[in-house]
């Protein structure tokens, strides 16, 4: 990390594509800027007050030339915009079998929880060459998970899950920053993302100690918070059974249908009256303020683990 870098490191193929787009935009902008500066300098010297240049108005500049020039520059830049939008859509289509890591941002630190139960502060160890899907939550204000080497950033808005995915290809240690102003130690809320080849990653997981997986911790919480009291068969209150629900469509009492994803599970825990399942009374009490973001991540992991078993889900 010594010396003064001019260009950021490319830790993933996506980063390379963004740099390629940035390079072409830079080239076209330098050409346009060059044209403007050249014309300014040319006219400034040729037609300065004391010069004897011919000024007979022979080269009349019609507005057609102006419209043509503007249209060309607009088309070029809109072409770049469409190319950019295509790259951007890629960010919004998370592959299905990505390794899912829950990241919670709270004032001035990041806490990551791996599916195997390992947790780390201001650090994130990920295997190289594999799709990683981060489920981000904030416990207080808006933060922003930013890894310059991967060219990705996602604001984490408190009150809902934000998802983000990437595939780091080059092993190494890259900066992690918080990019949205969040208070006094906003500058210290960062750390390192360590990309390791899969073998080293497996060793690192074992070194962290194999406590219970996230799903198992979620199961213990499922009982401790009393969810099993209603949601298990033979419960005291008529409540929807949660087996096989995760990821499939759920009809709601107001007639609409929603996919039971991590956001829906989280909202149902914190704001149960928001979207009641069809055929059930809105009697579930709100757990807002009692369940912390870390426990929420475990409960969601548990409900996902009892969801329909995905073909080849390498969980």
């Amino acid at each position: 990390m010594n010396g003064t870098p001019i260009w950021p490191i490319e830790a993933s193929r996506y980063a390379g594509r963004v740099d390629f787009l940035f390079g072409s935009l830079l080239l076209i902008s330098v050409l346009t800027m060059g044209l403007v500066v050249f014309l300014l300098a040319l006219f400034a010297t040729k037609y300065r007050h004391s010069s004897k240049a011919i000024r007979d108005g022979s080269t009349i500049k019609t507005w057609r030339f102006e419209v043509a020039w503007t249209a060309v520059t607009l088309l070029v830049f809109v072409g770049l915009a469409v190319w950019g939008a295509d790259l951007y859509l890629r960010l919004y289509n998370p592959p299905s079998d990505a390794l899912q890591i829950f990241v919670v941002g709270k004032q001035w630190m990041w806490k990551a929880q791996h599916p195997g139960g390992q947790a780390e502060i201001n650090e994130l160890h990920v295997p190289a060459g594999q799709d990683i899907r981060l489920v981000l939550a904030s416990q207080d204000v808006i933060h922003s998970f930013y890894v310059p080497a991967l060219r990705i950033k996602q604001d984490v808005v408190p009150g809902r899950y934000e998802t983000m995915w990437f595939r780091a290809d080059r092993p190494g240690r890259y900066h992690l920053f918080c990019a949205e102003y969040c208070g006094t130690d906003h500058a210290h809320m960062g750390g390192w993302v360590t990309v390791m080849n899969p073998r080293e990653y497996a060793d690192w997981l074992r070194q962290q100690g194999g406590q219970q997986t996230l799903a198992m911790q979620g199961q213990t919480l499922f009982r401790r918070y009393g969810c099993s009291g209603c949601h298990n068969p033979g419960g005291t209150v008529r409540a929807p059974q949660l087996e096989g629900v995760f990821g499939s469509p759920v009809p709601l009492s107001d007639g609409s249908v929603v996919i039971a994803d991590d956001r829906y599970v989280r909202d149902s825990i914190l704001n149960p009256k928001g979207q009641v399942a069809a055929g059930y009374a809105p009697v579930m009490p709100t757990f807002a303020g009692q369940v912390s973001e870390d426990d929420l991540a475990k409960l969601v992991a548990y409900i996902e683990s009892i969801g329909p078993t995905k073909a080849g889900g390498g969980r």
């Binding site: 107001d254 704001n271 009256k273 928001g274």
Partner: protein, 211 residues
Amino acid sequence: MTDDVLTFQYATSDQQREAVTLGMWAFLATEVLFFGALIAAYFNYRIWFGAEFIAAAHMTKVAFGTVNTAVLLTSSACMAMAVNTYQAGRTRAPVLWLTGTALLGLAFIAIKSVEYYLEYQEHLVPAIDFDVGRYGGVAEIFFLFYFCATGLHALHLLIGISLVTWLAIRIGRGRIDRNGSTTRIIGLYWHFVDIVWIFLFPLIYLAGRSG
């Protein structure tokens, strides 16, 4: 409002009257956007929350709202009559119509305060003692919007009432220049406050009535 003796920067009195009218309409455009920001927030939350937001709107008192709208529309009609009769050269008639407008405005404020008091008893006033457990967080947001919008509207109405009363007194004493634009300007302001209520009424009271 300037008494319309010709101030030095205007060449003719028509030029001055048009300038004052344009100035007033530009000011009303800023007021439309001032209230509009609140209404835009309402719309977006209504799209985003959907059913829960409408359920909260169910708890408003539609009877009070309808009566209040009728009162305000009538006061607008009185104001229009006042402006017409004044421009027709009469003096007693506009004063009577203006007092009618002011009284109807006060009636609106009275009905509104009764409604606020009832809502206070039902613990619907956010930040004081809103019963979040019973109604839920989204209902508190709806009522926060309700009190901000109707409170701001009531404040504008109070300003309108004082302007109308001041105008009625001045016309009674014959101190208003006959072909000036003071009366017309106050009329425009009053009608604008009425239009704000015309839009607030369906958004607040009629949402989710049909169950």
